[in-house]
């Protein structure tokens, strides 16, 4: 059974501008990207039913949640959403188990086998050791997992995640992201993720909308959206990284060789995972050097052959979007100065070598 798709056409008045956003989701996971104050949390809250000033339409499958013209406004508690707010909001008077069970009645009303879901969620999010802890004794990453678990246990038809990784430091982010990936695979739920962090959107979403001052300025598949010059500047200031997925081929002393989709190997910092497993890694666009021909005697461990797909000029940079193979998935964006681009004679369709240090690659495991 394919999960219901979300569509919305909203207008919400805000202090400085009005949020106007309209979209029909074709995929399971939609990301909303924008700097803070762009209206993305407002959009999420309007879909959750927490903004009474929202006008327009919201529809999940064939259920209308909001239709101002027809006078339909389904209250929040009847919308069957799983909401993970930025501040997580674990109930302080409940322990972890009771937090996870908070949405049990709704889940059962929706015909969900609660016990089975509870066990599955506990296993996937590794909550077993936390079940009897008090919420105030949990660390940031643990809270995030409990908040996700509580939402998943409540039998939602749509999952709304508000900045799921924002409250966490870099190390924790790298640890929570895999849990989100597991949720994506294990629960066939439509998900809306709001974030100002390009990495999590690239890793999780099928489709991204970019918001700026309440309006959508770009939309599409994450890798192509983030390599657009106007979006890239925004994304990079928020920590844009190229994300690549590969299979662990071999471990060395301090490094691991990752086999990418096109067969080339990428040397990355040592991973704890066993050989043969899949691994997600990230590298910032400014950490990549370009070479016209394969350099010799180089300290950097990686030199990948790629083909230039597009060259795009921003104010002071040239964004070189490259492809490792013919599929569009393995796309790597590098940035160079206009002078360097001219000197190297970069042209779309030309071959290029991407040089990067093993230590500049970040593991997401």
């Amino acid at each position: 059974m394919t999960p219901a798709r979300l569509s919305f056409d909203l207008e919400v008045p805000l202090d400085r501008f009005a949020l106007k956003i309209s979209h029909h989701c074709e995929h399971q996971i939609l990301g909303l990207f924008g700097v803070s104050g762009s209206g993305k949390t407002t959009c999420l809250e309007a879909i959750a039913g927490l903004r009474s000033s929202a006008k327009g339409k919201i529809q999940l499958g064939d259920e209308a949640w909001l239709d101002s013209e027809r006078g339909i406004h389904v209250p929040c508690h009847r919308r069957d959403i799983g909401y993970v707010p930025q501040e997580m909001l674990l109930f302080p008077h409940y322990d972890v188990t009771r937090n996870l069970r908070a949405g049990r009645e709704r889940a059962q009303m929706n015909g969900v086998d609660f016990q089975q879901t509870f066990e599955a969620v506990t296993e996937i999010l590794e909550l077993g050791p936390l079940l009897h802890r008090r919420t105030r004794d949990l660390s940031g990453g643990e809270r995030q997992r409990v908040a996700l678990g509580r939402a998943l246990c409540s039998g939602p038809k749509l999952l709304l995640l508000d900045e799921p990784l924002a409250a966490l430091d870099q190390r924790l982010r790298q640890r929570i992201l895999p849990f989100l990936l597991r949720i994506r695979e294990s629960f066939q739920l439509p998900i809306l993720i709001v974030s100002h962090h390009p990495v999590e959107l690239q890793a999780l979403c099928d489709e991204v909308l970019v918001l700026k001052e309440g309006a959508v300025i770009a939309q599409g598949q994450p890798q192509s959206v983030f390599s657009r010059p106007d979006v890239f500047n925004l994304a990079e200031s928020q920590g844009f990284e190229n994300l690549l997925r590969g299979t662990i081929a071999q471990h060395y002393g301090q490094t691991t060789a990752l086999k990418l989709a096109d067969g080339q190997h990428l040397i990355v910092p040592r991973s704890e995972r066993p050989e043969g497993q899949s691994l997600l890694v990230g590298i910032a666009a400014h950490e990549i050097l370009l070479a016209g021909e394969r350099p010799r005697a180089l300290s950097a461990r990686n030199c990948l052959r790629a083909r230039i797909a597009t060259l795009q000029q921003t104010e002071d940079l040239v964004l070189v979007s490259t492809q490792l193979d013919t599929s569009d998935r393995a796309r790597i964006v590098a940035e160079v100065t206009p002078d360097a681009a001219r000197e190297l004679g970069l042209t779309a369709g030309g071959d290029i070598f991407l040089v990067m240090k093993a230590n500049s690659v970040r593991l997401y495991e």
């Binding site: 929040c76 959403i81 501040e87 709704r106």
Partner: protein, 219 residues
């Protein structure tokens, strides 16, 4: 003495439940007349107690709005224990409502929004989330209301009189003993009043102490 405790308890009970709901409405909702209601329920705190007593007396007198001539029967409140409870209840209302309101306001409304997203309707949210998170403040409101009722004098003597064995309270008994020059009786009553007051305030201090309460703001 036990009758004073009973009357103060009855007064606290009769004020607390409706008072808590009014406090919740004042803390959480916007509605027409909100400021007016807030002002009216605070009035007994700023008026002289004797003025409040006199107002109640006028309302309940035979020719008053709540008197025999208007209603066609007598509520039989004046100069009875019911008068004591009524006077105490009216006088403790502001303290109960203001304290309860603050304790509701201290509960982060985002917890309530979170509960809605889990399928909780308004009543469920109130009883499962708001009330348990506000309970310390609510208990403090009840304790303060009780002590206010225990100490009530001005309004009580006007509405219920000071009839030994029938409507005499701890505070009116101290007044009578002092007036009659019965120092021994007055001293004894003073010690009782001190003990009750000390316990009540100590309890509210304990309730307000943040070291043993779950954080209500941070998640």
């Amino acid at each position: 003495m036990t009758s004073t405790l009973t009357w103060a308890s009855l007064s606290t009970l009769s004020v607390f439940i409706p008072g808590a709901f009014i406090a919740y409405a004042l803390a959480r909702h916007r509605f027409p007349g909100k400021k007016l209601i807030s002002t009216v329920v605070t009035l007994p705190m700023v008026l002289p107690p004797t003025a409040v007593g006199y107002l109640l007396l006028s309302l309940l007198a035979d020719e008053g709005w709540l008197g025999r001539e208007h209603l066609g029967f007598s509520l039989d409140i004046l100069l009875t224990w019911k008068g004591v409870v009524l006077a105490c209840a009216v006088m403790s209302t502001p303290l109960v409502i203001r304290t309860a309101r603050v304790s509701f306001e201290e509960v982060n409304p985002r917890y309530e929004a979170m509960a809605h997203t889990l399928g909780y309707g308004r009543l469920q949210t109130f009883f499962r989330i708001t009330l348990p998170l506000a309970w310390r403040g609510l208990l403090a409101a009840a304790v303060l209301g009780f002590t206010r009722a225990m100490g009530e004098f001005g309004a009580t003597v006007i509405v219920a009189g000071n009839i030994p064995g029938r409507t005499q309270t701890l505070s009116s008994a101290i007044y009578s003993a002092q007036q009659a020059g019965n120092d021994q009786q007055a001293n004894f009553l003073l010690v009782v009043a001190l003990a009750i007051g000390f316990m009540a305030v100590f309890l509210t201090e304990w309730l307000a102490d943040s070291t043993h309460k779950p954080s209500r703001r941070a998640s």
